[in-house]
Every structure is written in structure tokens, then in C-alpha cells.
């Protein structure tokens, strides 16, 4: 440490302190979803909110601003500069909003989400839209403030919270292209699969055996059990901290594939977290690059790797070891099961071919909503129209499984949805590059040797944390910018 670094080093101490508080938020949040009995809910929410307020105060204190200014003048090496950039981004994102708006949005979001839990099963659009209108109003205020500071469109300012550097003009181009070929591809795949019989596995599937199966697959995928665990929650997620990654799944006695592939998906997230740069943990530069890059790792594990016919060769014996042989688990049927394409109303149940349609539909609606081009009452009609046009499905009057199905908007998380499909595209592009870098990849996978694949991901993605921008990270890893061509190639190769 030299005195020339003093402001920067004070910032490191400050952000390391914030990371320690984040640690307790993460574990408290994980516990809330997995362990906490119902009566603990109110006290836990209050405790987590109190810590959030504290973190926000520390981050946005005048002292942080002063140190950021001073550190800018200090001579820093590459990774230190990247760290400072991420500190500045966190500070800017946090300091922009007046506390009154943060509080109002947090309250409106909590109210809307809480009511939604009962309104969705009751198909109560009128009740929901009233709460959602308040969330949208406050989200527009937030977007306006952020857009003004960043000199961007309102929607782009929100998108940047999840996907730094991404613009809606990029998304318009990428999604516009997708819309030209995806509906057609989907129709072809569905028609092709209609001719291929596919037996569903016959349960029941003992939950303890499902758990053991999940553990064996996590082991195969390199999950570090000394630095993480798997539990059960209503909505699967990957939480915890890089030193202690907590993934979850949910089991259904009648059907084991959803839970199993869910575990694969979350293990992809987990390995990214478990391999973020250890020597920088606690600093912003050691955080995962972005929401889409995170999703690219889970989708690379789930879609590129685990649903491939190569991987089925090692997955199938693990399944049979737990549940025994049955016709549905015969090799070709097992592959068809895991590559089944069937458009449906529900995003979280969608296959990888129809998934982008769900995302584009939401992207178009939420963008118009944030920009003020439409109002909340316009959502159902737009939803139905797009659902019909992109997936050929009818959702009229079915709010529950239509525009009320997701949690994201209830909390005001506008700008999040596109990252799912960006993640799928990054995953396809990265996996194509892996195939070139590892000529024997198919044989390696079929033989259960995933070490070269994981080494490549470690070298090209995981170890970099937030050292580089998403654009540079992807260009360094694959030699080019985001190119949706690989996603299309992947879908056509696998499904046509």
C-alpha cells in the first residue's frame, strides 16, 4: 500500500464492509425462502429492510463521493481501475434517487407483490392493476431521474441496472431479428415432434431418491459442497455468497425432470459464483458481470450441456440408478423428453425454443409502459394479441396465466426480462466457442469428463468477475460481439 492509493484503499475497506452486510442480507434472505417458519416473516422483513437502509446510507454518504473523486486522481493498475469503475457505478445507481422515492417504491412494490399472491389465483386483474399502476408511476419517476443523469431513454436507464451497457436499440435489433424466424421455426419443430411419440416417465418418484439424484448431478457438474448446499424452496434460486452458495429446487413426486434440470440450471449459476476471483471477494470487481452473463452460465449448463444428447449418455444412468429402468427412460425417448418443445402460456415452464417469445412479449410491453406509450389498462389486450401472434395461443380473460403470471413487475423490476434471452444467446455463442476450443467435446461429455469445459469457462468467464465490460468479456472469450446467429444455429441444429 502506498499513500498515493489512500482514497482507493479507503474505498476498498468501505466496500468490503458493505459486502459483509450483503453477506448477512443474502443468508437472511435465503433462510426466509427455505427455512423460516411463517411467524418469522414480519420481523425478518423489518430486519432486512433496516440493513438495506444502512447499506444505502453508507454507500451514498458524502464521504463515499469524496473518496471516489480522490481515487480518480490516484494511479491505479488495471484491476484496481475496474474496481473503482464498479464502485462508481454502484454509487451512481444508489445516489440518484431521493430516499422518499426509494421508500415509496419499496412500499408500493411490497404491497403489490403481497396482494398479487392472492390476486393471481383469484384471476383478479382489477385489484392487481390498481396496485400495479402505482408501481408503474413510481418506476417512471425512477426511470426519468436515471435517464436524465445517464442521457439515455427511460427504459434504457432501467435496463442498465441489470445489464450495464445494453441499449433498447440493440434489443430492438436483436429481438426484431428473432421475430422474423422464431415463430416459423417453432411451428416446424412442433410439427416434427408431433410425429415422434414421447412416453412420459411413470412415477411416483421418491423425493429422497430425487434428492440423491440431484446431488449426484451437482457433483458431476463440479459443485463445491464445502462451499455451498442445496435445499428446497417454492421458487428455485441461487443465493448465498461466493464462499457459501445456496441453491434451491422443488420436488414433485409425479415428475422428476423439472426438479433435476432446475438443479442443473442453478448449479450453472452456482459454479460462476464459486469461481469468482477469490482474491478480490468483497470488492465490486469480484461480483458477477451482469444478470445476462449470470443467466448465460445457468443456461449453458441446462440447455447447451445438460439437454444435449451427449450429456444424456451420462445423465440417464444416474436417473436409472435411482428409479430403475422403464420404457420412458430408454435412450431415444429420454432425449426426446428433455428436448420437448410445446408452446404454452407459462414462461417458467417454457422450452428453449418458445422461451424467447415470452421474453419479447414482455419486453415490448414493459418498454412501452415505462416510456409512457401505454398504460396499465392496455396490458391485457396487448398481451393477448402478442401471445396469439408469437405463440399462437389464446390468453383472453386468463390473467392468472397471462399478464399476472410473473413476480417481476409487481416489485417494479422493469428491464429484467430481456436478460433471460440475452443469457440464452450468450450461452449459445460461448458454447459454440467451447466446441471449437475443445475438439473432442462431444466425446468428453459422453464420457463424463467435463474438466476441459469447466476450465474454459473458468478461464474465460468465471475468474474475471466484473473486471471487463460485458462487451469486452464476450469479445475476449469468443472473438466477436454478441451475435444471435449462434442461438439460431443451436436451435436449428438441435430441433430441426
Amino acid at each position: 500500500m502506498t499513500s498515493a492509493h489512500s482514497a482507493y484503499e479507503e474505498l476498498c475497506t468501505l466496500f468490503s464492509r458493505l459486502a459483509r452486510f450483503d453477506h448477512l442480507s443474502a443468508i437472511g434472505g435465503w433462510d426466509m425462502q427455505t427455512m423460516m417458519p411463517p411467524d418469522g416473516s414480519k420481523a425478518r422483513s423489518e430486519a432486512l429492510a433496516e440493513l438495506s437502509v444502512l447499506k444505502h446510507q453508507i454507500l451514498t454518504a458524502q464521504k463515499t463521493a469524496t473518496l471516489l473523486e480522490q481515487a480518480q486522481q490516484e494511479s491505479l493498475n488495471g484491476i484496481e481501475s475496474a474496481n473503482l469503475l464498479e464502485m462508481r457505478r454502484q454509487y451512481d445507481n444508489a445516489v440518484l434517487l431521493p430516499e422518499s422515492l426509494i421508500e415509496a417504491k419499496s412500499l408500493a412494490g411490497a404491497r403489490c407483490e403481497h396482494a398479487w399472491r392472492a390476486q393471481r389465483p383469484a384471476n383478479d386483474w382489477d385489484g392487481f392493476s390498481e396496485n400495479l399502476s402505482e408501481v408503474v408511476k413510481l418506476t417512471r419517476e425512477e426511470a426519468q431521474i436515471r435517464a436524465q443523469a445517464a442521457g439515455t431513454r427511460r427504459y434504457d436507464a432501467l435496463l442498465n441496472l441489470y445489464e450495464p451497457g445494453m441499449r433498447s436499440s440493440d434489443l430492438d435489433r436483436i429481438f426484431g431479428d428473432l421475430k422474423t424466424w422464431l415463430p416459423d421455426l417453432l411451428q416446424k419443430v412442433v410439427a416434427k415432434q408431433e410425429k415422434e411419440p414421447c412416453l412420459p416417465p411413470q412415477g411416483p418418484f421418491d423425493l429422497e431418491k430425487q434428492r440423491k439424484l440431484g446431488l449426484s448431478v451437482m457433483k458431476l457438474l463440479g459443485f463445491n459442497f464445502d462451499g455451498g448446499r442445496v435445499d428446497v424452496s417454492v421458487h428455485p434460486f441461487c443465493g448465498g455468497v461466493p464462499q457459501d452458495v445456496r441453491i434451491t429446487t422443488r420436488y414433485n413426486e409425479n415428475e422428476f425432470l423439472t426438479a433435476l434440470l432446475g438443479i442443473v440450471h442453478e448449479t450453472g449459476h452456482a459454479r460462476y459464483e464459486q469461481n469468482l476471483p477469490r482474491e478480490w471477494l468483497g470488492q465490486p470487481v469480484a461480483l458477477a458481470r451482469s444478470t445476462a452473463i449470470h443467466e448465460s452460465q445457468s443456461l449453458l449448463f441446462e440447455m447447451q450441456l445438460a439437454r444435449s444428447s451427449d450429456f444424456m449418455k451420462i445423465l440417464r444412468p444416474l436417473v436409472i440408478a435411482q428409479f430403475g429402468e422403464q420404457p420412458a427412460l430408454e435412450e431415444s425417448n429420454f432425449i426426446r423428453l428433455n428436448q420437448r418443445v410445446r408452446p404454452g402460456l407459462i414462461r417458467v415452464d417454457a422450452d428453449e425454443v418458445s422461451y424467447p417469445a415470452h421474453v419479447i412479449l414482455r419486453y415490448e410491453i414493459e418498454q412501452a409502459l415505462v416510456e409512457g406509450d401505454i398504460e396499465v389498462e392496455d396490458i391485457p389486450a396487448l398481451w393477448n394479441e402478442k401471445m396469439h401472434s408469437y405463440l399462437g395461443l389464446d390468453s383472453v380473460g386468463n390473467y392468472r396465466n397471462g399478464c399476472m403470471q410473473d413476480i417481476h413487475w409487481t416489485d417494479g423490476a422493469f428491464g429484467y426480462f430481456p436478460t433471460y434471452t440475452l443469457g440464452a444467446m450468450y450461452a449459445a455463442q460461448l458454447f459454440q466457442q467451447v466446441r471449437q476450443a475443445i475438439p473432442n467435446l462431444s466425446d468428453d461429455i459422453a464420457a463424463g469428463d467435463l474438466s476441459a469445459l469447466f476450465h474454459w469457462l473458468q478461464q474465460n468467464i468465471w475468474q474475471h468477475g466484473s473486471r471487463y465490460s460485458t462487451e469486452t468479456l464476450i469479445a475476449n472469450a469468443t472473438g466477436e460481439a454478441l451475435n444471435p446467429r449462434y442461438f439460431r444455429q443451436h436451435l436449428e441444429t438441435r430441433y430441426l
Copy 2:
């Protein structure tokens, strides 16, 4: 709220904020003992330490002192005054020590405890005593500062951290009396039991069945599962927060009684926490009164209630429902099993007749140590001498199961041990009062109706939190001050 209350109300807000941080410490600590994988240890310790520092800073800030002074002048009702008194006590206890001493003691304690985990199995007294000397040195500094401020002896100042209002002169009297009759009673009980054959239950006892048995007993004992849970940890404890109480046990396939009675014990702690005054939760006045009162509830559940022959009538069928009949579970043998008295070297394995000897031995040594009358190197000889004199056992050279067996001293928790036996005495006194208040208690228990017992505890202990001093609480509940006579009566009635 009136303006006359403003300082007091500001204090309530401040302590409610501290309680929210305590909540996250409690859950983070529980997780560390029950869920956390090994690689999470360092980051978790750092996160919890960071939060401790923060809480200490908030509590000892000049603003807190000013508000405490101002609130003293405000007109408060009874419970508000009691709350202010507890706030003042927390502040005084925290503000007395210089930060340098807190940090030094925390580091020395962590080092000593960490090394002890390996030194104990290795019987390495020399290594241990070196670390312990540092802990003792810093503990004496702490005791000196606290004693000076309180105008008490050094040991009393530490004792008061766990048992406010208790003095070593009281303990000398109480324990002095115990020493006149307990060794003799112990001998008689052992001689009597030697003539009574007692079959040990034959395992193995399936862990899942043990878990179910534990849950059924917790249910019988009124544990609120909507506001708590039971898990497994190496050292059983009761943690969490009043709204979400987390108890633990550990299972052994060869023997189920230890885990089962451990669950009963922790359920006693849990019900106290679950019934602290709900409308005051988050304020110091809503906290459990003291360590000994807490222990009185767990020992009332375990020793007074669960090991009684009345309770065996309902416990035994639950055991048989899980493990089936066997000779050792026949009624009279089952009672003998649960009332077995056998002096041993290990405190945590001790029965209730020999337990006080373990405590008195430690009390006498730790008092002399804190007062500076002996040094760390004098401990083993004193230990052996007292072990021989109180329990007739030889521990020479057996440091592992002698003076190195407990964790308390490694962390500098001097003054804690007496609360175990005080708890046993309060439990006996309270239960004697319950017997008078509920004439049909024996029949009620044998019939599985514990509602009157729990109502009495709720009315007389649980709902009061820290509203009254221990002395007043016990006098209100039983009509007299702590009277060790009831403990003696209990032991003589049950065991002679």
C-alpha cells in the same frame, strides 16, 4: 406519543433498530452452527463481527448517552421505566470497556477457543494454558473496570453480566449450604440405585424415527412450529429470535434418550422465548430476564417435568410408538433410566444430583482466578482436589475430561457457570409453587394435559420479560426469595 416522551421514544426507535441487527446476528449464528458448509466460515465470522462492531458503535454513541439522560427526566409509566432501566444497563455494560480491550479480548478468546478444539482431544494442557493465561489477563482487566464502576468485587461484576443483581456473597452462602448435604445425598442415591437393576435400551434407533419422536414431544410441550423449528448441531442450543425460535439437538443411533431429553430442555428455553411479551418485542424490556431464569425454564421442562414419573406415563407411549416395545422400555425400568444418578467427569453428561458439584467446583476456581488469588497453572491441582472431594473421582492428568472440557473459559465467559445451578434451584422453587397452585398437577401431567402448567408459567414468568428484577419476579411468583430448600426437597423426594 406525547412530546414529554420524546427522548424515551427516540431510544425505543434506536433499540428497535439494534434488535433488528440482533435478529440478523442470531439467524447468521444459527445458520453457522446448523447449515453452513465449512468454506463459509471465514466470511461469516467477518460478517458477524462487522455487525457486532456496528451495534456496539450505535449503542455506545454519545447520542445514546444524551437520550438516556434526558429520558430519565421524562414521566414514564411502569413498563417504560423498566425498559429505560434495561436500556441503561445495556449501555453501561457496553460503554465501560475501551474498544482496544474489547478487540483484544475477542481476539484472544477466538484464538484460545480455536486452538482448544484441537488441544482438548490432544490433552495438551501446556498449549492451552498459555492461551488461557492471556484470556484470564484480559478478563481481569475487564473485571477491574466493571467492578470499579459498579462498586463491587471483580468477580461479581462479571457475574452481573449474566445474572443481574446476583452477588458472590449470595453464591458463597447458597453453594456453601449445598456442599454440606449434596455429597452425602449423592452417595446415598448411588448406593440405593446400585441395588436397582436398570436395563439399557437396545438400539439401533433410526434417526428419522428419533426426529419424529422429538417433534411429537415438542408438540406435547406446546412448541409453536409456526414460530420456530428444530435442527441438528454438534452442540445443542436454543437460538433465533422470539418470533422464530431455533432449537437444535444431535442424534446418536445407539441411544435416543440424550437427544430426546435435550429436545425437552431446549423446548423449555424456546417456550420462554416464544412467550416473551409480544407487544414489546424489539425493546430490552421484552428480553428474557437472565441466564439463570432462562435455565430455570429449560430445567423445569427437563428435570422437574419430563423426568418425573408422571410425565413418563405420556412420554413412554410416544417412545414405544416409534421404536416398539422392549424390556428396557417397561415402565419402571424406563423411569429408572431417566432418573439414573452416576457421578462422572463430564459436566454436560451429569445427572441433576451430581451437576451442582461440577458447577461449584468451577465457580470456586473461576472466582479465585478472576480475583487474582490463583493463576492458570494452579487450575489442574485444584480441579483434581475438588473433583475428588465433591464427586469422589480422579481426574489427575486427564485434562481433556478435566479442566479442559468446557468452552466457557476459552472465550472468557467467567461468571456464567453458577447460572446453571441457580437455574436448577429456581426451577425447583417454581415447580413447587406450581404444585400448590394446581392441586391436580400429577394427574394432569399423567393425562397429558399440561395447559394449566403452561398457563401458570406464562402468567408468572414468560410474559414479564425483563419487566421486574429476578428477585421481584421470583418473589411475585413464589412468595419468597430464592430458597435452595426446594431444590434439596426435590432431590430427596425423587431420589431417596
